[in-house]
């Protein structure tokens, strides 16, 4: 059976590794030591784990101040509270002020399952993507999570990185190199493109397998940077495969699907299907159950792709 991973472990391990080498790296939390899995970090660097208590506005502002003082803060908290509660601090103190702060949104999407919509973070990508000067990253697996953290540490400027708790298999091999603003083409195909982000990338790959069995060759892109978007990869997908299905653990309003659609309708209109949470608060259910409920499964992606392909005009020979 395929081994599954909690990306928070890769986040924590990488952050400790980086902190060992660079004394400027500090972590800032809102009492979210356990939920960010930062206990070991705190044991190893007790002074460099700054717990500001349950106070997200202050947490993000403190991050900006630490950066002002020459440090590289990783501000880590449950994604819904980090983004929703401190949105104005993110806009003014980080993005507009152009400070070198890395926001790590833990357990995003519907990772908190039964805890309900208060604890779901399915608006974060829309909110943060709308803010100038923000970089928004959604890693697909532990390999990419670790690489994104490493790239964030050495790249100046404000960033938001989702760190998922939902168990996922590894989708990137050892040779993979995460790059900000660059989509990873994980499967070649000329009939349709599946653009997925985060923990749903693995499901897009499964859907592509199912489609292949039906004779439909799907290209699969891992769009791990939501802003700045890899527009070249999107336009190539349109030109070479005719249609796009986007898949995200996020509301369909304003996230990956919207970002891709903005590019498509502006430069090269083409049929699309946008899969995500359809503008509702989720009912009660586990994270896995909710993904099933909203069709964010290999089967759901497969169905949408087949339906789309039926409507895509044949590419000119």
């Amino acid at each position: 059976m395929t081994q599954l991973y909690d990306c928070r472990d890769a986040f924590e391990t990488k952050l400790r590794e980086l902190a060992s080498a660079d004394p400027r790296i500090v972590a800032v939390v809102n009492d979210s030591v356990g939920s960010s899995k930062l206990n070991q970090f705190g044991q190893q660097f007790p002074n460099r784990l700054i717990n500001v208590g349950i106070a997200e506005q202050n947490m993000v502002g403190v991050g900006a101040g630490l950066a002002n003082g020459g440090l590289i803060p990783f501000v880590s908290a449950a994604a819904p509270f980090l983004t929703g509660r401190a949105l104005e601090q993110i806009k003014a103190d980080l993005a507009y002020s152009n400070t070198n702060v890395k926001l790590c949104g833990q357990s995003p999407g519907m990772g908190y399952g039964e805890l309900g919509p208060t604890h779901h973070s399915i608006e974060d990508l829309a909110w943060l993507r709308a803010i100038a000067n923000m970089t928004v990253i959604v890693p697909a697996d532990p390999v990419e999570t670790a690489q994104a953290i490493e790239v964030a540490a050495r790249t100046s400027g404000p960033m938001f990185i989702r760190v998922s708790r939902l168990p996922v298999p590894i989708v990137h091999d050892d040779g993979y190199q995460f790059e900000i603003g660059k989509a990873a083409r994980l499967r070649e195909g000329g009939d349709v493109t599946l653009i997925a982000t985060g923990v749903l990338v693995t499901r897009a790959l499964e859907a592509a397998e199912m489609l292949a069995a039906k004779g439909v060759q799907a290209r699969v892109l891992n769009m791990s940077t939501i802003r700045p978007l890899d527009t070249a990869a999107v336009l190539a997908a349109v030109a070479e495969t005719g249609g796009i299905v986007t898949v995200e653990e996020h509301t369909i309003y304003g996230g990956l699907g919207s970002a891709v659609a903005e590019v498509v309708v502006t430069h090269q209109p083409a049929p699309m299907r946008i899969l995500g949470v359809p503008g509702v608060f989720a009912p009660t259910g586990s994270a896995e159950w909710l993904l099933e409920h909203f069709g964010l499964t290999a089967q759901g992606i497969y169905d949408a792709a087949l339906e789309l392909v039926a409507h895509v005009p044949l590419a000119e020979a």
Partner: protein, 282 residues
């Protein structure tokens, strides 16, 4: 090594004269741009001038010096007072002040650190300065550096909860290198603070949050110099200076008038104000 200006070159008289200059220039800039927040600028100018000309260890030629003292204007709408003070101190050219609020000017209605040397963080929305100041003060402690952090807040601004999140953190982390100055002019945009949302007993609130508190006349340069010279008031505690001030200080028809929060003086009002300021005893 950065140092505060030598005290023998910074007399109370000199600072009072500088404050007069900054007030006059501020009013001219606001009049020219037809926008600004003169009420809260007049209330803050003695504090700003005392800080920049006698307290802060800063070097205008090296605004990014890692060991500089940090000053954060949390009440970012008093931007013209800050710009004018920064210009007089040599951070930006004096003639740049005339560009305030003009298209593409670096001097926006609220300060932008990416465009104005000496500005530490972009403020404007209220309640943002304190948390950033706390972070900068923690950064000094973590790196065993001697820089200090000063943040000037409005009083109405203290209605924002983020200040009190930061106040708790500052006491918890024993940030005696952090000083907040409250510009206690008792007026907010439309009415008195006590009428809008009561702040008193304000000093007791700060003390209850674990701060060491001093109260001064925020227009008395001698008292300001004295209180800043005694920071930190107590080892291990953050410092709060409640500076009792008047909105519109220095101009009779503006003083303590809520309407002058962001009213722009017309030509006649400007002339009268400049005259009053010129004639006021140093």
């Amino acid at each position: 090594m950065l140092a505060a200006p030598r005290s023998d070159t910074v007399t109370e008289e000199h600072l009072r004269e500088m404050a007069r200059t900054v007030r006059r220039r501020d009013l001219q800039v606001v009049h020219g741009a037809k926008m600004g927040h003169v009420g809260g600028e007049m209330s803050a100018i003695d504090i700003l001038v005392t800080l920049y000309f006698a307290v802060l260890r800063v070097d205008p030629s090296r605004p990014d010096d890692p060991d500089r003292d940090r000053f954060i204007l949390s009440k970012g709408h008093s931007a013209v007072a800050l710009y004018t003070t920064l210009a007089q101190r040599g951070f930006i050219p004096l003639e740049q002040l005339d560009s305030f609020a003009q298209p593409l000017s670096k001097l926006n209605g609220h300060p932008d650190r990416t465009k104005v040397p000496g500005v530490e963080t972009n403020t404007g929305p209220l309640g943002h300065g304190m948390p950033v100041a706390v972070g900068a003060a923690i950064a000094a402690k973590l790196q065993d550096r001697s820089w200090r952090v000063f943040v000037l807040t409005g009083d109405g601004e203290l209605q924002e909860g983020s200040n009190w999140e930061a106040a708790m953190a500052a006491a918890h982390y024993q940030l005696d290198n952090l000083t907040v100055i409250v510009d206690r002019n008792r007026l907010q945009q439309g009415a008195g603070t006590e009428h809008t949302l009561r702040l008193e007993p304000l000093a007791d609130k700060w003390r209850a949050f674990g701060w060491s508190v001093e109260e001064v006349d925020g227009h008395n340069i001698g008292q300001l110099l004295d209180v800043f010279s005694r920071v930190p008031f107590e080892t291990g505690k953050p410092n709060c200076i409640i500076a009792h001030t008047h909105k519109g200080q220095g101009v009779s028809f503006m003083q303590d008038q809520a309407a002058w929060h962001h009213k722009v003086p017309n030509a006649a009002e400007l002339a009268t104000a400049l005259q009053e300021l010129a004639e006021a005893p140093a």
